[in-house]
């Protein structure tokens, strides 16, 4: 009897110790059962994860409260003070992409940062914070100038629009007097990540006027925003591109029709290695500058251009530092989705203060991790490189893949596109480098830039010490579908483990998140013969989730 009592006491003591440890440190990775936290179908949480006292309080104070607070203060900062919230409310009421995607922003953080702890959590969250702030800056500028909402005509005159795949650097010479806001970065690109319900309206709108459903859904959605009359009238003139492909040219034709404004088409050449093409592209940039001068009456300012290019070079140099740590150590704190989204956003957007502020914060965390040998992903089983274009509705797959299988996505193709600084020692050198940067656009530099560029994968695999490829398979990209078989042959010949991830870029209806997880699960069990780290994440239904 007394033996039984003593055993029970011990048992209780152990349980108390275990609970205390879970409270203070959070559960060990294999015991977290993150899948149990989901409300079926919705992607909502029964309750948010308890990450241990320190990390939960960090998440609550420095991520959840901090970002909700800054989402309001940024609206005031970029919206002209107290007028900002009123203007924002009017924008929410008028534009679907704004109302439906702004509000669930904190859930976007949750999905990307699930299961994360310590320095990795902090560094990744700062990347998200920067993207939210820059997004607010952009849409508040749109709303301030928006003639649909009775915006300020002076601000309208001083705001240029451009295709989201035209690099913001083209407009640096006017940044001291004017601003430039991409047409689709927020209404299309950002919304797909934050709330994947929104874009479906735009894809369907494009098809509702008789356009075929098989072109790239990105091009369809970008046209659909115009077809649904969901674009603010914030600019007197626009610069478009042919990026990523001829589907995008079709989009520009439709946009031209519906905008009916002066338009400068600045297509990026496909075969950009040709030196003659370089000359042509440099000349086109100069032509674009003339167009801007003519449309706005504002003169080209070379000093302003150089100033911003040099600041952009600073961003690039820090990115190289990050790559160095990611490639050669286990101490890189930034998770796959933060790396991918921040880099593509920042490198395409160009020089903005928020990127510098964020890099300064992340640099401190990065140095701390390296100096103290902090491994933020201790259960990494495979170092993964992600190649080709990612599913926008499931960009956080890497967070799931680490939590479930220990697949750590170290780097991705879109991060590596702009692997250059821009010389500012002479006008000619500067123009040549700007042309190259402009040509190395998203989905162009590797994906449709020529065979040997898409096969740069092998060099980067080696450079980043990756042993596995997550090969994105954009089912509606005719260009990438054309090299599918060649990749299969190469993977076999080189004996590389590669998981094909089919998707339709923004459209979750073609291949759902659940189907993507199922494909990864099948590969990991049948080919790799591995056991999941967290079996509750193998199968769950988030079909209605943001």
């Amino acid at each position: 009897m007394s033996e039984k009592k003593s055993y029970t006491r011990q048992d209780v003591m152990n349980k108390v110790k275990s609970l205390a440890s879970d409270f203070w440190n959070g559960k060990p990775h294999e015991e977290r059962r993150l899948g149990d936290l989901y409300v079926d179908k919705t992607g909502l949480y029964k309750h948010r994860e308890w990450r241990g006292f320190k990390d939960t309080m960090y998440y609550f104070n420095m991520i959840w409260l901090y970002n909700y607070g800054h989402m309001i203060s940024d609206i005031m900062k970029y919206g002209g003070g107290l007028k900002g919230p009123i203007l924002f409310a009017r924008g929410v009421w008028r534009y679907r992409w704004l109302g439906q995607s702004y509000l669930p922003v904190m859930h976007w953080f949750d999905r990307g940062l699930e299961g994360m702890r310590g320095e990795g959590l902090k560094a990744s969250a700062w990347h998200y914070r920067a993207m939210v702030s820059e997004t607010i800056r952009q849409f508040m500028r749109m709303l301030q100038a928006d003639q649909n909402l009775g915006g300020d005509p002076e601000i309208w005159k001083k705001t240029l629009a451009h295709d989201e795949t035209v690099w913001g650097g083209i407009f640096y010479p006017w940044r001291d007097r004017m601003d430039d806001v991409p047409l689709q970065m927020i209404p299309y690109f950002v919304t797909c990540h934050v709330n994947n319900h929104v874009v479906l309206n735009y894809i369907d709108a494009a098809q509702s006027i008789g356009l075929p459903g098989d072109p790239c859904p990105m091009c369809q959605a970008e046209a659909g925003i115009f077809i649904l009359d969901d674009v603010p009238d914030y600019f007197p003139a626009v610069v478009t591109s042919n990026e990523a492909c001829d589907g995008s040219v079709g989009t520009s034709v439709l946009q031209d029709w519906m905008m009916n404004k002066p338009l400068f088409a600045m297509p990026q050449p496909m075969q950009f290695d040709d030196p003659l093409v370089q000359e042509h592209c440099a000349r086109e940039i100069e032509e674009c500058w003339k167009f801007i001068e003519e449309q706005t009456g504002e003169k080209f300012n070379c000093e302003e251009l150089v100033k911003h290019l040099e600041r952009q070079n600073e961003l690039q140099r820090f990115e190289w530092e990050k790559w160095e740590v990611a490639a050669n150590t286990d101490y890189y704190p930034i998770n796959g989705v933060s790396q991918a989204l921040y880099r593509i956003y920042q490198s395409q957007d160009g020089d903005r203060d928020i990127w510098h502020e964020t890099d300064a914060r992340v640099k401190k965390i990065l140095e701390k991790c390296v100096e103290n040998k902090i491994n933020s992903y201790p259960l990494t089983r495979h170092r993964v490189i992600a190649w080709s274009c990612a599913p926008l509705y499931y960009s956080h797959w890497c967070t799931w893949a680490y939590n479930c299988w220990g697949l750590n996505c170290i780097i991705n193709m879109d991060s590596l596109m702009f692997d250059m600084t821009i010389r500012t020692d002479s006008y000619e050198n500067m123009l040549q480098d700007m042309a190259l940067y402009h040509e190395w656009a998203p989905m162009r530099r590797m994906a449709v830039g020529g065979m040997h560029h898409i096969f740069e994968l092998w060099e980067y695999m080696e450079r980043f010490h990756c042993d596995m490829v997550m090969m994105y398979d954009q089912l509606q990209c005719k260009g990438m579908q054309g090299v599918h078989g060649l990749f299969e042959d190469e993977f076999r010949a080189r004996n590389i483990h590669a998981i094909w991830m089919p998707h339709a870029l923004p459209d979750k209806r073609t291949v759902s998140r659940s189907e993507i997880r199922s494909i990864v699960n099948d590969y990991m069990t049948t080919i790799m013969h591995e056991e999941p780290l967290d079996p509750t994440l193998l199968e769950f239904d988030d079909s209605e989730g943001w």
Partner: protein
């Protein structure tokens, strides 16, 4: 002095109470649930009902200036 202390005490309890309420909202994902079940369906219905311009009524013309810089 006593009145100031009393005010500070009230402020302290108010702030603590607010902080606890916000933590409950955060931990039980009440913000997500409110947005998912309440705000988004309401906004979505509003956007669905909005009157929009018919883009097909706009005439497609290319009569804007010819921007060529071949000089």
């Amino acid at each position: 002095m006593r009145a100031l202390l009393k005010t500070l005490k009230i402020l302290f309890f108010l702030c603590t109470g607010l902080y606890i309420i916000l933590f409950i909202v955060f931990f039980f994902d009440l913000d997500g649930k409110a947005l998912f079940y309440g705000v988004e369906p309401f906004l979505s219905n509003h956007y669905d009902r909005m009157k929009r311009k018919d883009p097909l009524e706009k005439i497609y013309s290319t009569d804007t200036p010819n921007y060529e810089y071949n000089d």
